[in-house]
């Protein structure tokens, strides 16, 4: 989604003519070597301000060394109603896990 489409998705408030700032999801990397983790969300007019607001809001106590912001609208999520079938396949495939292989237990460096 382009910034233009995204900015366009903010709808003016009824009556007072105010322009709404879109919602952004914030991901913070707490230390080098770690993944960015979802920290929360905030409102900002654009990506530049979203990053700055995220810095002020989510890293006031040295929580991060890097921040990602993503327009909330741009996130595609799996459908929770389809949870059963969507995540069924891995169930029962024990052979994907080392614990399945019991006969080699006790053999060193294996």
């Amino acid at each position: 989604m382009s910034a233009q489409e995204f900015a366009g998705s903010s709808t003016p408030a009824a009556g007072d003519g105010a322009h709404r700032w879109p919602l952004w999801e914030v991901f913070v990397r707490s230390n080098r070597g770690l993944s960015h983790v979802h920290a929360g969300s905030l409102h900002a007019p654009d990506a530049a301000m979203a990053l700055r607001n995220a810095r002020d809001l989510y890293t006031r106590r040295n929580e991060g060394v890097s921040i990602w912001v993503v327009p909330a609208d741009a996130i595609a999520a799996s459908d929770p109603d389809a949870k059963g079938s969507f995540f069924e396949s891995p169930q029962g495939k024990d052979y994907r896990h080392a614990t399945y292989y019991t006969k080699s237990e006790g053999v060193k460096h294996l």
């Binding site: 700032w21 905030l42 409102h43 900002a44 007019p45 530049a48 301000m49 700055r52 607001n53 810095r55 002020d56 809001l57 006031r60």
Partner: protein, 284 residues
Amino acid sequence: MQPSAKLGDASASATRITPGNALRPEDIALAARHGAAKASEDVAQYALRLGDDALILAQRLAHWISRAPELEEDVALGNIALDQLGHARSFLTYAGSSWGKSEDELAYFRREQEFRCAHLFEQPNGDFAATIARQFIAANYQFPLYRGLTQSSDPMLAAIAAKAVKEVDYHLDHSTQWVLRLAGGTEESRRRMVAGLDLMWPFTGELFQDDALTARLGDAGVLPSSLRAEFDRATGEVLAEAEVDIPASSMASGGGRHGRHSEHLGYLLAEMQVLAREYPGASW
């Protein structure tokens, strides 16, 4: 002056304070108590100027908390105010080391004429655009000032500046972002931004005035007039991008460095000092 081991590594030389060291006012106070950090009279007078600028600006910005245009901005302005207050406390603590006074004695028990802030910082908040204009000027002045001060021959000033310059770098960015947005937003915001700049610009002149003290400081301080070119270049670039003319008037009589203030400061101090003065000698 000999800085204490608390400030840097065990070999106790303040010149070894790394720029990344997060120096706290409490550290400076401790060093001062142990006689390990004592500013010379000139350095103290200079620190008082920088400290008062930051203190009065912090006091102004604090008023925005719970009144900002959006909650995210309450948090942003709060961070900037806290940074400025931190710088003020460090500078005032260090200044006080010369006279055996604490940061609070200097902040709460000096009279108006004894304050050394420039008029810019005393200016009322006005609307958000006026506050941003004041921030824009303040940050564009403080950033090169603190950057220069990291090379000060006075190790404590250098250490305070090393912490402050990084924080002011962000203030610079924050005010720049808002100057661009307000100037390039709606007709109303542009009108307000231009008005805010016109309102605050006359107070820039005072920031770059040299005097006998700044001349005497030599390598310990930064000559105010030496910052002007960088200020003009940096603000000029942003204002050009914002398609705003640089306001014409940049001369104001000033006098803040010598205790002659605007009408606004008295009210600000009355509010800031009232409680401490109602209970002199009390501990909080």
